[in-house]
């Protein structure tokens, strides 16, 4: 992470300033977007469908125009620059390889447009094909290749004319799981090797966590959080991010008192717990406590925890490396626990009484109003 961070220098590569987009004049697809994309970083725009992430990408590519605000590439405003003059590489959702051209013709296309000498074109095409390990596939038509191979060709085509910025619109969505994971790693390596800026759109959170330097989580046209994967997962800025990235247990309650970085919360079922502050909350505020399933300890492991609650086992699912346990706390509140299978050789059964422990650092008090559906920006 440090090597990449050091390569990312000061001046932003792309800047969104107060960008808004609406299609019907009533609903904003993108609201007041301010975003700096650093030179050389792998930035992922993550969010559910309709959250405005693809619209952002299309505005950057030039296929959509912002309703207001400005987009800069380097220090140049590109709002009015037509897409073919932006010199931005793009990988499309279904690859959009030209079906009437062979693979190498597809790759030659952007170079021929730029009127490069034939010898240089040949060299660049060969290099790009080698980079995606398809050196011998130049004479094939796209339809004669598998999805994974087409994906590589699309990638090579977006990179062959050496753009500094490459946009990817859910490019791995059509691949099966194993291949997708393989391509994620490969993409990451290509990014590290070439040092270009990549803006990647996806709705798959694990994809985003795997590849990104930073992730912008979108919901309802607003960036909910822009952070590196670790911070995003461990310190979600609000309830939406906590629920969208990874699995989350939400425990509603009231803040009774605040002491510096921690607070005491009375849960709706009556139990009192210590929690760390996620959002600034005051005494008497309604709060939503957030804890990851793997941060909840069971039975013996819960002994050292500051918060201990009693409950009953309602369901146990064996998943090889871990157990997935559904525990019902007092007040019919259920939480999901991921327990390492190795630590629980003596398995518990349904209906068993059980102790649940959560450390305050891993129990974050969040303001339920921020990032909630329908919340004001």
């Amino acid at each position: 992470m440090t090597t990449i961070a050091s390569r990312i220098d000061g001046a932003p590569h792309v800047t969104f300033r107060k960008v808004q987009k609406t299609y019907d004049g009533e609903n904003l697809i993108v609201r007041d977007l301010n975003l700096d994309i650093r030179r050389g970083e792998f930035l992922t725009l993550l969010g559910p469908s309709g959250s405005g992430k693809t619209t952002c990408l299309m505005m950057l590519a030039g296929f959509e125009t912002p309703t207001s605000g400005e987009i800069r590439l380097g220090d140049k405003v590109i709002n009015t620059v037509p897409p073919h003059k932006r010199n931005i590489g793009m990988v499309f959702q279904n690859y959009a390889l030209f079906p009437h051209m062979t693979v190498s013709e597809n790759l030659r296309f952007p170079l021929a447009i730029r009127k490069l000498p034939a010898a240089e074109i040949d060299k660049k095409v060969a290099r790009a094909l080698d980079m995606v390990q398809l050196g011998s596939f130049g004479d094939r038509y796209p339809q004669q290749m598998s999805g994974g191979q087409q994906q590589r060709v699309a990638l090579a085509r977006a990179l062959v004319f050496d753009p500094e910025l490459v946009l990817m619109d859910e490019p791995l969505g059509a691949l099966d799981k194993q291949l997708r994971e393989h391509m994620q790693i490969e993409l990451k390596h290509i990014h590290e090797k070439l040092g270009i800026t990549i803006v990647f759109v996806t709705h798959d959170q694990s994809e985003a966590l795997t590849m990104s330097d930073r992730i912008a989580v979108f919901n309802q046209g607003i960036i909910q959080q822009l952070d590196d994967p670790t911070a995003l997962y461990e310190k979600p800025a609000n309830n939406f991010v906590a629920n969208f990235i990874g699995e989350n247990n939400a425990l509603p309650g009231y803040v009774e008192s605040v002491h510096g970085e921690t607070c005491q919360v009375k849960l709706d079922n009556g139990a009192r717990v210590q929690a760390s502050l996620g959002n600034p909350v005051k005494r008497g505020d309604r709060t939503m406590l957030s804890v990851r399933p793997e941060c909840v300890q069971l039975n013996v492991q819960s002994l050292g925890c500051a918060n201990r609650l009693g409950g009953y086992v309602r369901e146990v699912i064996y998943l090889g490396d871990h157990l997935r346990v559904r525990v019902e706390l007092a007040g019919r509140k259920e939480i999901i626990v991921k327990a390492p299978a190795a630590q629980h050789k003596h398995r518990f059964d349904m209906g068993d009484a059980i102790h649940v422990g959560i450390n305050p650092e891993q129990l974050r008090a969040l303001d339920p109003a921020i990032g909630a559906p329908g919340a004001a920006p």
């Binding site: 590519a61 030039g62 296929f63 037509p82 897409p83 073919h84 003059k85 010199n87 931005i88 590489g89 793009m90 499309f92 959702q93 279904n94 959009a96 390889l97 030209f98 079906p99 009437h100 296309f109 952007p110 447009i113 730029r114 390990q133 038509y141 339809q143 004669q144 598998s146 994974g148 085509r157 977006a158 004319f161 194993q178 291949l179 393989h182």
Partner: protein
């Protein structure tokens, strides 16, 4: 790469499991399983096949056969025809031929069979009918006279080898005469194929005109139809459906009504001329009808939907992502369209163009009503020969030429499109 490995492993394990229970060969099992399905499908389409056989294949075959059919002479004089076919054709035929012809002439004289044979022979060689009638009256030969003498006595032309050569050429049940005539060729006296005399040669010009006019109409349909098809394919479904209704609207009226409507619109005192004069663009009415202008306008109008529909169906399948991709690669919008979109729309353009061209070649009523004699196409002559002179041979021969042209065009088209689809098939 990884999936390839997985695949080989998978297929490698397959045969072992199969071999254990393969007492009956796998191919036989498959055939058995598929047979029932095939029979069922076959039964479903059988009525259609029978229908097509009776309404399409059979009539076309029968008509094509007519273009080489030459039954009259063989029917009237079967024995003589047989003898003439064996004749070397260099000198006058033997006495046996004369005798046989005299005998058969005497027998068939006055019957409709004889009359049609005489009429048929007269078609190519005017005056032959009179010759036949005259000769027939002198048959059978009087006593003490040989058949040969009787013939020459009846008309001295029977002493000329050319007369017999002519008869001999037509003594076969098939003839290329009609087909040759429809490309302005004929047999000369010696039986060689030569050009028809200039004053009789019209069909090459007619066929040229037919292809020329069809090409012009096709080009206009393409130029007018392409933008509309593109618009329909790129608009949201709601707008595309409305446009589609307008495209299909002409189909709801009879072609005759549409042609008549153009007649009303385009005549010298018609709406178009009145409007143009009212606007002050012209002083005196334009001649828009009974010339090629009228024919082109009406035919383009009538055939436009046939151009638009195939193009639309192909264009609808082309994702807008392709042009976007081209633009993102630095290609200006129009060039992207031309380099990336148009080649993919080509099968639709080809199908539409071919359809319009083929329909054009067969057009009869529109040029007949809106054109002058100079705009009449091949179908006009087909109709002329079937309705007015009852010359089935010529009608069939002209149809056969149009049919052959259609087949050639279709083959060219499937060559062109087939090459593109080859790649798609490999998927």
């Amino acid at each position: 790469m990884r999936e390839d490995n997985a695949m080989t492993q998978l297929t490698a394990t397959l045969p072992r499991g199969m071999a254990a229970e393969a007492a009956v060969p796998l191919k036989t099992q498959l055939r058995r399983a598929e047979r029932m399905k095939k029979l069922k499908y076959g039964a479903l389409i059988a009525p259609l096949v029978v229908f097509l056989l009776f309404t399409f294949v059979w009539p076309i075959t029968a008509l094509l056969k007519r273009s080489v059919d030459n039954p009259e002479i063989v029917a009237a004089f079967p024995a003589t025809s047989g003898l003439l076919r064996d004749w070397d054709g260099r000198s006058l035929p033997s006495d046996a031929v004369f005798a046989s012809f005299a005998d058969e002439m005497g027998k068939t004289r006055g019957t409709p069979v004889f009359a049609s044979a005489a009429k048929r022979l007269n078609m190519e060689l005017p005056g032959f009918r009179t010759l036949m009638m005259k000769t027939a009256r002198a048959m059978p030969p009087t006593d003490g006279q040989t058949a040969r003498e009787a013939f020459v006595a009846a008309d001295e032309r029977w002493g000329d080898v050319a007369t017999w050569q002519y008869l001999g050429r037509n003594a076969s049940p098939t003839t290329a005469r009609y087909l040759l005539a429809s490309v302005d060729r004929k047999y000369d006296d010696a039986g060689h194929v030569v050009q028809t005399d200039a004053d009789e040669a019209i069909y090459v010009a007619v066929l040229k005109r037919t292809f020329g006019m069809s090409a012009v109409v096709t080009v206009f349909c393409l130029l007018l139809g392409f933008p509309l098809a593109y618009l329909m394919a790129t608009q949201p479904a709601r707008i595309a459906n409305v446009l589609m209704i307008f495209v299909l609207l002409p189909f709801w009226t009879s072609i005759l009504v549409r042609v008549a409507a153009w007649l009303v619109l385009l005549q010298s005192e018609g709406l178009v001329n009145q409007a143009l004069r009212a606007v002050g663009l012209i002083e005196k009415p334009l001649q828009l009808v009974f010339n090629s202008t009228g024919v082109y306008i009406a035919m383009v109008h009538i055939l436009l939907p046939f151009m638009i529909l195939p193009m639309y169906s192909v264009m609808k399948g082309i994702s807008p992502a392709y042009v976007r991709a081209a633009v993102s690669l630095g290609c200006p919008p129009f060039k992207s369209f031309w380099k990336v979109y148009f080649p993919q729309a080509l099968p639709g353009v080809g199908a539409g163009g071919l359809l319009v061209f083929i329909l054009c070649m067969g057009y009869y009523i529109t040029p007949a009503l809106l054109g002058s004699p100079k705009e009449q196409m091949a179908s006009y002559f087909v109709a002329f020969y079937t309705n007015q002179t009852i010359n089935w041979g010529m009608a069939a021969a002209l149809s056969a030429i149009l049919f052959a042209a259609t087949l050639v065009l279709y083959m060219v088209y499937s060559r062109l499109v087939g090459r593109q689809e080859l790649a798609a098939k490999a998927r």
